[in-house]
């Protein structure tokens, strides 16, 4: 079409008075929005290319730039909002599936914000974390139902000093510098990071003791060496951002390093199949779990990651009985580097419900000890962590939160490979923008801050060991929830 109906999404305002024509914005924009015009002798901006990543705004030394939503409004329409209309135009013009990045941004309720925590008052004392030890160490892995003092054998465990792990993000969807930042931080904090489905790059072998490797449906990068080095192996059945479909990495992002680590030819699209083609039923999963256990001599936990879907409680029960040591459940707010928009926004259920339902079901079936539960799908802060543990999780995965700590501004354009912050890109000019020294420092800062906040909240409840918070639903009250929601989460309403 000679004229597109699609207006720019954003408007760039440049304060002419403040702009000193230093061209930092020109140097930084990976989408070529800002250019130096010789004739006009100043910087000009093409807003149609702007993705609102804030790079130029943050870097401008005189704060001359700001960005607002393109001010042209459609007639008020509660049914066809401007997003729905623009998406329709895009499909009419292109005939393609709409892609997006990061997690579901639709206004579904965020149930973490409907949960309130307890504090001790009078009848038992709160504990001061500055003066008393508060232990938040946790172990992930299968636990025997009883202690056998005569036996030397104990199922393999992952020891975490803080109940937070870095979620799976593949090398290919993110840059190697992201992996370096995650690995270094995990190692320093004594927690774990997950390679995602792109394999483990050899530069990261030194961090293997804190690394979870992933066996996803495409089996990218899976070989004996990677399995031998890792601390744990995760079978990825699904993820919250795109339940039911596999990963997609466009060929442009498959450079030499990605090719070598994934063990695919450079420049080829890395498309993971929707199911594992050797897992069509629960017994097939059991076979893969035990194949991996045999291959690793039963020395490391085997995890299974699933998206939170309707029948998650029964699915989790099956996974536990299939022999998994840890089940990771990814709620519908989970992020991704590339996912079809409709699937991201309409498939899956919130992690709060999924977690509560799974924890309750496993206890009813008296098998809760057989697996540890890791909750994922938008854990945004330390209060979400505490609430997740109280609902029944052993630990949480953070993906989006970790990327935000590395500089992501949630522009949701990861799939273009032009991440201005050096995160979701393989372009060497952009990859250098994430300095792993700074990246890992930010991640360590984030988790240390959360560690202190978690201890404050636990101390406030009169709890000095994380075990006593796990599944302790009485420490939660619901606010603004209906009867059914309270019942599913197994909590009382505020005031009860």
């Amino acid at each position: 079409m000679a004229v597109s109906w699609r207006m720019p999404e954003y408007k760039i305002n440049r304060d002419k008075d403040r702009c000193i024509d230093c061209q930092v914005c020109v140097n930084q924009c990976a989408n070529d929005v800002h250019t130096w015009d010789e004739d006009l002798n100043r910087v000009v901006s093409d807003e149609s290319l702007c993705v609102n990543c804030h790079r130029c705004i943050v870097y401008c030394p005189t704060r001359a730039l700001n960005i607002e939503k393109w001010p042209t409004a459609f007639k008020d329409n509660a049914n066809w909002d401007s997003g729905a209309i623009k998406q329709l135009y895009a499909q009419a013009e292109s005939g393609g599936i709409l892609l997006t990045g990061m997690g579901n941004d639709r206004p579904y309720p965020v149930y973490w914000d409907n949960l309130l925590l307890n504090a001790s008052q009078v009848t038992n004392p709160s504990i001061d974390p500055l003066r008393e030890p508060i232990e938040i160490k946790t172990f992930l892995g299968r636990k025997p139902a009883r202690f056998d003092p005569s036996s030397d054998e104990f199922p393999p465990q992952m020891e975490l000093d803080i109940p937070v792990l870095f979620s799976a993000m593949s090398f290919g969807s993110v840059s190697l510098n992201v992996h370096k930042s995650l690995a270094r931080a995990a190692s320093e904090l004594n927690v774990f990071w997950n390679t995602g489905e792109g394999g483990l790059h050899r530069d990261l072998f030194e961090y293997a003791a804190n690394t979870v490797v992933q066996v996803a449906s495409g089996r990218f990068g899976v070989d004996a060496e990677m399995l031998a080095r890792a601390a744990a192996v995760e079978i990825k059945i699904g993820q919250g951002a795109k339940p039911g479909i596999g990963g997609h990495l466009p060929g442009e992002k498959v450079g030499n390093e990605v090719s070598r680590t994934r063990m695919i030819p450079p420049g080829t699209d890395a498309i993971s199949p929707a199911p594992h083609h050797d897992i069509y039923s629960i017994e097939d999963l059991r076979q893969l779990i035990f194949s991996l256990k045999e291959a690793t001599e039963y020395s490391k936990p085997v995890m299974v990651k699933v998206a939170a879907v309707h029948n998650i409680a029964a699915i989790a029960s099956g996974i536990a009985r299939a022999g998994a040591d840890v089940i990771a459940i990814d709620g519908f707010r989970g992020g991704s580097g590339a996912t079809p928009l409709r699937i991201r926004d309409n498939v899956g259920i919130p992690i709060e419900f999924a977690l509560a339902a799974v924890d309750t079901r496993l206890r009813e079936e008296k098998i809760r000890n057989q697996v540890s539960l890791v909750a994922a799908g938008s854990i945004r802060n330390s209060a979400d962590v505490v609430k997740a543990i109280a609902l029944g999780a052993d630990a949480v995965y953070i993906g989006t939160a970790a990327l935000l700590a590395l500089g992501c501004h949630l522009c949701q354009k990861c799939y273009t490979g032009k991440c201005n912050w050096g995160i979701a890109t393989q372009n060497p000019r952009l990859v250098s923008r994430l300095n792993p020294e700074i990246g890992s420092r930010h991640l360590v800062n984030l988790l240390r801050a959360w560690e202190h906040e978690i201890k404050e909240m636990l101390g406030g409840m009169g709890i000095n060991a994380l075990e006593s918070l796990r599944g302790n639903r009485l420490m939660l009250r619901g606010i603004g929830l209906n009867e059914k929601e309270l019942q599913i989460m197994g909590i009382k309403a505020a005031g009860e």
């Binding site: 001790s120 009848t123 009883r146 202690f147 104990f154 918070l469 599944g471």
Partner: protein
């Protein structure tokens, strides 16, 4: 409102006395001890556990039962006679008192399970008894079995403990081990079954404090078919020890390492095998860790165990005087009944164990993998 409908936290007073030679003494001593701590209660509950008080019926389970009406009593007795041979059934003797004019019907039955009833449990008498009591208490409205051990009994009511002791005429009994509890609940329960001690088989627990890990413990116990119908801390503590000591056969030292584990940082000072062992215990029994302030006295036919939480957030004093061992919430409560040679204040997580001479373990069933000798349980 009663226990089981809502959760009622409480602060309290506890006391315990054992004659380690097994010589019986009158309940007056324990009554005087708990009476001294009158201000720690608010009259909303008091109770005692006494051991060795039924020497003539020592082979039989002594079921103490509250009934709210004659019709419930009739229905309960049908249940009892179907599963037990009842050797003696009688009202528990009490002194009439204005303070207890709302008293329920209180009876005791000396019973032996019928062989037919034990078949389902492979002859495991204790498992049968525990299941029977738990089932009756959670399903039969208006009846509550508040004591179910051999040669022992719990006595409790809504009132000050010294008044409760007088009501039940405990000065007329002779027992070698007595524990007592006075309650200060923050609500007004009117129900006698909710007072302490909580008793099951010959376990009895009196407890001062509030378990902040309650729901984590309860949901863990439910996986082993315990029903925490009273919603009290004492119930959960009793079930935890029953699980750890009777069903899983842990030694007493290990059980204490489970409910009041040493800090992770302290484990680093130990040698590798011991460190891994304690670490694994804590990992397996994470749901049994008791958090929140507590001082508890756990008693069985073999003796008593007194324990504080690992941060020592409740008071507990212990004393020894020849064959007598005393524990109480206050030093004065011991000195009012004795002039002990040795008196001390146990540290957080450090157990005080008073067993009958010649007994090696708290658990009377003897099912204990390594003998259960308590050496230095608090490390």
């Amino acid at each position: 409102m009663r226990e089981g409908q809502i959760r009622i936290p409480s602060g309290c007073a506890i006391s315990g006395i054992i004659n380690r030679r097994g010589h019986g003494f009158s309940g007056s001593a324990i009554i005087n001890s708990i009476a001294l701590m009158h201000e720690r209660s608010n009259g909303m509950g008091g109770g005692f556990a006494a051991y060795g008080i039924y020497p003539g019926y020592a082979e039989y389970y002594a079921l103490h039962i509250f009934f709210e009406s004659e019709s419930v009593k009739a229905e309960m007795e049908k249940n009892l006679y179907a599963s037990f041979q009842i050797h003696l059934a009688e009202e528990i003797p009490t002194r009439k008192s204005r303070k207890f004019k709302d008293a329920p019907i209180i009876w005791r039955y000396f019973a032996t399970p019928l062989p037919a009833a034990l078949e389902r449990y492979d002859g495991d008498e204790e498992e049968f008894m525990a299941r029977f009591v738990l089932r009756v208490n959670s399903t039969l409205r208006g009846a509550y079995i508040f004591s179910s051990g051999k040669n022992m009994g719990a006595f409790k009511a809504v009132g000050y403990p010294e008044d409760v002791g007088e009501f039940y005429r405990l000065d007329e009994y002779k027992g070698y081990l007595w524990t007592a509890h006075g309650r200060f609940p923050t609500n007004t329960p009117g129900w006698w079954g909710g007072a302490h001690p909580f008793a099951l088989l010959d376990w009895s627990v009196v407890h001062n404090g509030e378990i902040s890990s309650y729901d984590a413990n309860r949901r863990y116990l439910e996986m082993f078919d315990y029903v925490c119908s009273l919603q009290t801390d004492t119930e959960v503590i009793t079930y935890l020890f029953d699980l750890l000591l009777r069903k899983h056969g842990l030694s007493l030292r290990d059980a204490i390492l489970v409910v009041a584990p040493p800090l992770w940082s302290r484990l680093e000072e130990l040698e590798k095998n011991e460190r891994e062992r304690i670490q694994n215990l804590r990992i397996v029994y994470a749901g049994a860790l008791l958090n929140g302030p507590f001082s508890i006295i756990l008693a069985t036919g073999n003796g008593l165990l007194a324990l504080n939480d690992r941060l020592k957030l409740r008071s507990l004093v212990a004393a020894e005087d020849n064959e007598y061992l005393y524990v109480a919430s206050e030093e004065a409560a011991i000195r009012v009944v004795a002039n002990p040679q040795k008196l001390w204040f146990p540290a957080g997580g450090e157990a005080v164990l008073g067993l009958l001479y010649g007994k090696e373990s708290l658990y009377t069933g003897g099912r204990c993998f390594d003998g259960g000798k308590l050496e230095n349980a608090g490390i």
